[in-house]
Subunit: 359 residues, 2 copies
């Protein structure tokens, strides 16, 4: 390992008062340490370090504040019943982070090296991985452009951070299928845009549609494609699957849909189970038509936070469809249980998806 | 004025070493003071203050770093030959900032009150407004979401800043028509998206296309609409105009095009001069067809930085068109000269566009 990649650790001697696990809200509590690394055009990525969790100090002209050059990731560390700590396919997150960075003109990371830094951070923070079943330590890697310059051009300096947040179960009161509103006015992403990238601007752009859906009594919106407003792309910030008859269908990755790691794992599980699964364009009209024919058996979103989130109701303009009488479908349940069992080490991992954090 | 809107001034006693005016680059040098104001759900916008120009300190979980909830503006202060300081239609900037904020679910500002704060900041920093002809003080207001929370929802706290940067002339070596590449792969914005808002994510998303155009020897890209990749939207980060025969045509504001204040002023000038000007959808094919007929007389971009930027060449796939033999057109020149003369007080302002900063 090159000198400029040597990991320094500055211990936090002033440990935080911990919130009781049953009081945890998502993404509000952070651990004692974080990971930081710098980038400059001259040195590349350098000076990796673990430091106390502390504020970021930037010039008001830092490019992150003006032109949004930034990418992020989200994954979780789980504590097993026998007290080991597992990550779920973390290499996929850093690969995707690099794909996001390419789109945003951000210099790429050494994916394998960065994973070793994350592992070291987790060794230091292992007591922060919750012990309660269904709880986990949410991991948020992100890169920000830091050069103080108002010119419209990629930054010459960046910082890469990893922060950690202990989080409660997404399904504290059990899985309940949600009501989804098909969004016709606002657009999440379009071909040639940034929809495939995990970049900040995609997320705040969706708040206005989410707020209007909430006001109407829905949990999330279903996003249609930006070109024809016809093909299904995502649900809220999740990928989406439909069980139509014996077949499971999910939108084909087209450049405006995020390549979900849970999405990928579900496709691989279904293939392993010999359940027919197809990635293709799927229109909202097709789904409503299939529902009229009585063959839409299950609909569910997938993502790191919820893993599997069943959809009980879809509303498209004046049309409404109730899925599986508003109950969680058998396949959705089996997928949720299998994936979470693998993630938390309750079930053997035949796919090599989990990575154990060893001393 | 309500107590929470009382403007505090903390003087910077440690003034900066100034860069010689002929050494100024765009957006790299900042003045001694800045304006800051806070927002919380409980208090609304409060605690406006002018402070020394100093770093921003934020929690690593501050929402600006993760979900891009932010808007900005750009305008300039000009020094007249008789040493007055003028702003150009600043109320339009704060009106547009509020429209951007609406799209990004950010709480609105009191446009008139904020303009008085900017005026006070400029009174304090008046020595920083460059004296060299063609130079100006660039003004960058921006709002960032500051709540430390990884939940996907609008922030409950924000900060509004105004920073000031003395800048050189955009045309240091005189106006030269630029070469533009028509972008077919990447998309800047789409209906239902954030194209009409001045928000960070729109800008870094365009770097990749800009870089490829630069590599091919072009100055900027021309953006087509995201739906059909057929209709003209913007040039780089400017609005665009075409003089076809006796008529001037510019794309109709459709929700994915930024409502430029220079664009608006040019339309108003042309109307005042009885030059026919039309806002409508205009396809790239129409422009190339008109060029074959020999009636495309002038093409120019408009924006705060360049005011008017003539286009000398447009390349679309394998087709190339040379405009006005690569020279700046008469109308482009007249528009540039008139607007800059009004902005800098060289010419009387019959439109009430300029606002003088008085003691």
């Amino acid at each position: 390992m090159n000198e400029q990649h040597h990991l320094n650790v500055i211990e936090n001697t002033n440990r935080k008062q911990r919130v009781a696990e049953d009081q945890l809200a998502f993404g509000k509590e952070f651990t004692d340490h974080m990971f930081v690394m710098d980038y400059s055009t001259e040195k590349g990525w350098h000076h990796p370090r673990i430091t106390p969790y502390e504020p970021i100090t930037l010039d008001p002209a830092a490019m992150i504040f003006h032109y949004g050059q930034t990418v992020f990731e989200g994954l979780k560390a789980y504590r097993t019943e026998d007290d080991r700590i597992l990550l779920f396919r973390p290499e996929k997150n850093f690969q995707r982070m690099n794909r996001s960075s390419e789109r945003l003109s951000i210099p790429l990371l050494d994916e394998k090296l960065v994973l070793t830094y994350l592992e070291e951070l987790l060794r230091i923070e292992k007591e922060w991985v919750p012990k309660t079943a269904g709880y986990s330590l949410y991991i948020r890697p992100f890169i920000i452009a830091t050069e103080p310059n108002l010119s419209l051009a990629p930054s010459n300096t960046y910082q890469f951070y990893i922060i950690l947040s202990p989080v409660g179960s997404y399904y504290r009161e059990g899985i309940h299928p949600v009501k989804i509103f098909v969004e016709e006015e606002f657009t999440r992403a379009v071909r040639g845009g940034t929809g495939m990238a995990k970049t900040a601007g995609n997320y705040s752009a969706a708040y206005i549609a989410q707020q209007r859906a909430t006001d109407k009594g829905y949990s999330q919106v279903l996003w249609l494609d930006g070109v024809e407003k016809k093909y299904i792309e995502e649900v809220g910030s999740m990928n989406v699957f439909f069980k139509i008859g014996e077949e499971v269908v999910t939108p084909l990755l087209n450049g405006s849909i995020l390549e979900g790691i849970t999405r990928l794992s579900i496709i691989e599980l279904l293939k392993d189970w010999n359940v027919p699964v197809v990635e293709r364009r799927v229109s909202i009209e097709e789904i409503f038509q299939a529902h009229k024919e009585g063959i839409v058996e299950e609909v569910f979103g997938t993502g790191t936070a919820a893993v599997v989130s069943p959809v009980g109701e879809l509303t498209w303009n004046d049309e409404q469809m109730i899925i599986n009488n508003g109950h969680t479908g058998k396949l959705s349940k089996k997928l949720y249980e299998t994936l979470t069992a693998i993630q938390t080490g309750k079930q053997q991992d035949p796919y090599g998806w989990t990575v154990e954090i060893k001393e």
